[in-house]
């Protein structure tokens, strides 16, 4: 493809600061944290791109989590996410401000916006990255081939988590990546942040690519976000049926934990999808992850292996979950879990 004419003209690390209902999405803050590390390596600064309607008030929060500059694109057309006006907004910001790196959360919005923006500005996009570094491409100096420095090296799982690949975008700018929520760490909130705010209006003219939103239906859910949980008690097909999940819920209650599950449990209709951990569910990194009756398919492991401590209980001693568990217990969960719950309750009562 035609290469970006002057790669050197592109400077700065940009983060798409996703908001819905005028609330900043957590992944945007996580990306700002990572952007600061990348910007330090590149000796440049971090810019948040805030797109929406009446969103200027959110700029301070972005500054508090590490943005040096905030570009605000504010228009009534941007009240709800629609592919075309948002693509126009972010692509116009890229054309005008020429960032060398653009990071987008791999959310249901970002995985739509990233591809259309990258195609419009004619650059590469790497999806669902789990690691971002600055380095050389090619990694090793090869005779007769130019080695480029200060490249964004984007690492991601592929083939259902069976392999990992590190990808670069050496000849085009910006270098774009989407990053899964829960993977990067936000910084400690800065108490008295100072950031430059730049208002930018690319102009919005309706065309055939504009869709119409007829209705918005929010799911009523009283469940907490499993991505925020410090301890998760997660059940798989081996739990045996929806009627047995109360055993896990009772253990969770005794530990101050939340309950999550594997894909098999969601597919069987035992639990809702927002509790699913794994490649097609959520990525979690709690302090403790109990895998109860979960065999440990690679797609599941991809979503929980960053947990600090993994405790697996499974009847099948050959289950692959034991390959990633810190502590594996071969045995019948339906006996072990209620006894553990009881022991925890007694210990808590003794302390109180």
């Amino acid at each position: 493809m035609s290469q970006t004419v002057n790669v050197e003209d592109y400077k700065g690390v940009f983060v798409f600061a996703q908001q819905t209902d005028n609330r900043i999405n957590g992944v945007a803050l996580e990306l700002l944290g990572k952007a600061r590390e990348l910007a330090k390596d590149l000796d440049t600064d971090v810019t948040a791109v805030l797109v929406g309607s009446d969103v200027k008030g959110l700029a301070n929060k972005l500054a508090a989590y590490g943005a040096d500059k905030i570009i605000v694109v504010d228009d009534r057309e941007l009240k709800e996410y629609k592919t075309e006006p948002y693509t126009h907004a972010l692509a116009s910001v890229i054309d005008e401000f020429k960032p060398e790196i653009v990071l987008v959360g791999a959310t249901a919005i970002g995985r739509d916006l990233g591809p259309t923006v990258s195609a419009r500005v004619k650059t590469g996009l790497t999806a669902d990255c789990t690691q971002l570094d600055i380095g050389d491409f090619p990694l090793a100096a090869l005779k007769g081939r130019e080695q480029k420095h200060n490249q964004l090296l984007m690492t991601r799982p592929a083939f259902g988590g069976n392999t990992i690949a590190t990808i670069a975008c050496p000849d085009n700018r910006p270098q774009m990546a989407t990053v899964r929520p829960g993977v990067m760490q936000k910084i400690e909130k800065i108490a008295d942040p100072k950031a430059e705010i730049i208002e930018f209006d690319p102009g919005f003219e309706k065309n055939d690519k504009y869709v119409e939103i007829l209705n918005i239906v929010k799911s009523v859910s009283d469940t907490v976000d499993i991505m925020d949980a410090k301890i998760l008690v997660s059940g798989g097909r081996g739990v045996g049926g929806p009627e047995n999940f109360h055993l896990l819920e009772e253990l969770a209650a005794a530990l101050g934990a939340e309950v999550s599950c594997s894909r098999a449990v969601v597919d069987a209709g035992w639990k809702p999808k927002d509790l699913q951990v794994g490649q097609t569910g959520k990525t979690v990194r709690p302090n403790v992850y109990f895998a109860v009756g979960i065999s440990g398919a690679i797609q599941h492991v991809a979503g929980m292996e960053e947990a600090d401590i993994i405790i697996a209980i499974n009847k099948d001693e050959t289950a692959p979950i034991f390959d990633v568990a810190d502590y594996g217990i071969v045995g019948d969960y339906s006996k072990i879990v209620p006894m553990l719950t009881e022991k925890l309750k007694i210990a808590a009562a003794a302390e109180a």
């Binding site: 650059t123 996009l125 083939f159 390959d323």
Partner: protein, 263 residues
């Protein structure tokens, strides 16, 4: 009205995965399947055909053996199929792939009443990028993550899924829609369809058939992203596994939770 369905033949990553000594995936030893989300895209197209009698055309980019997958899609109910194949397409990333498929769709002719379906994502790359990128190259609207769909006059009305909500979105045709598994339950091949599939002509497109695509947009050289390194996933490795009676198991877990200051 004509409906195009973009499909991909993928290695079955849900089963046993074979890895070469250098850490890359041994594709030759693995079974290939039709990408699951693409089957939902095909079903969505066939459901429209059931109602409107429209022509359904399956389109794939891949090596010649992918013809077999296209025959299966004809056996499911597609009217015809196009295989886009050529050595110069090898090594394409999502940007180049979407250019190539868009070039083939332009050759087929995307009319004012047409709809293009893609699966949300393929299980080998899991990027979900090619569908939206095709729409961008064609200059038509895209609705990703469709979990429900109907046609209303000259528009498509889709339930577009987000994490905590869905939008009911109306787009004018032509448009591109990416299908979630939740959209439907794909039908099976029919005996009559299997019979038809033997006679069906599967057209092969090469570089020459692609419209509005430059040579420099194809394959490795048309791909802005380059692989720096690919390797087998390095796991942190297993800890300790114990096989004790329930009492001792509970004491073991309790001990670890205490030792690690969890409780």
């Amino acid at each position: 009205m004509r409906v195009y369905v973009c499909v991909k033949q993928v290695p079955d990553t849900s089963g046993k995965v074979a890895v070469n000594e250098d850490g890359t995936l041994n594709r030759a030893s693995m079974l290939t399947i039709i990408n699951p989300d693409d089957l939902s895209a095909m079903e969505a197209a066939l459901a429209l055909k059931d109602v409107t009698g429209c022509q359904v055309t399956a389109v794939t980019m891949g090596p010649p053996p992918a013809k077999k997958m296209l025959q299966e899609l004809i056996a499911m109910g597609a009217d015809d199929a196009v295989l886009i194949s050529g050595r110069e397409f090898g090594g394409s990333d999502t940007y180049a792939t979407s250019q190539i498929i868009a070039g083939a769709l332009q050759h087929l002719g995307v009319g004012a009443e047409d709809v293009i379906f893609c699966g949300r994502q393929a299980i080998d790359g899991d990027t979900a990028q090619v569908g939206p990128q095709i729409s961008e190259h064609l200059g038509i609207p895209v609705i990703s993550y469709a979990e429900e769909l109907k046609i209303e006059g000259e528009s498509v009305v889709v339930h577009r899924q987000y994490e905590d909500r869905y939008h009911v979105v109306k787009a004018k045709m032509p448009c591109l829609i990416t299908a979630l598994a939740e959209l439907n339950e794909p039908r099976y091949m029919t005996p009559g369809g299997i019979f038809d599939a033997y006679d069906a002509e599967i057209v092969t497109y090469s570089r020459a058939e692609l419209i509005d695509v430059a040579d420099e947009d194809l394959g490795l050289k048309g791909s802005p992203t380059k692989i720096a390194k690919a390797s087998d996933k390095v796991r942190k490795g297993s800890g300790e596994t114990v096989n004790l009676d329930p009492d001792a198991s509970v004491a073991y877990i309790f001990g670890k939770l205490t030792e690690k200051h969890v409780i």
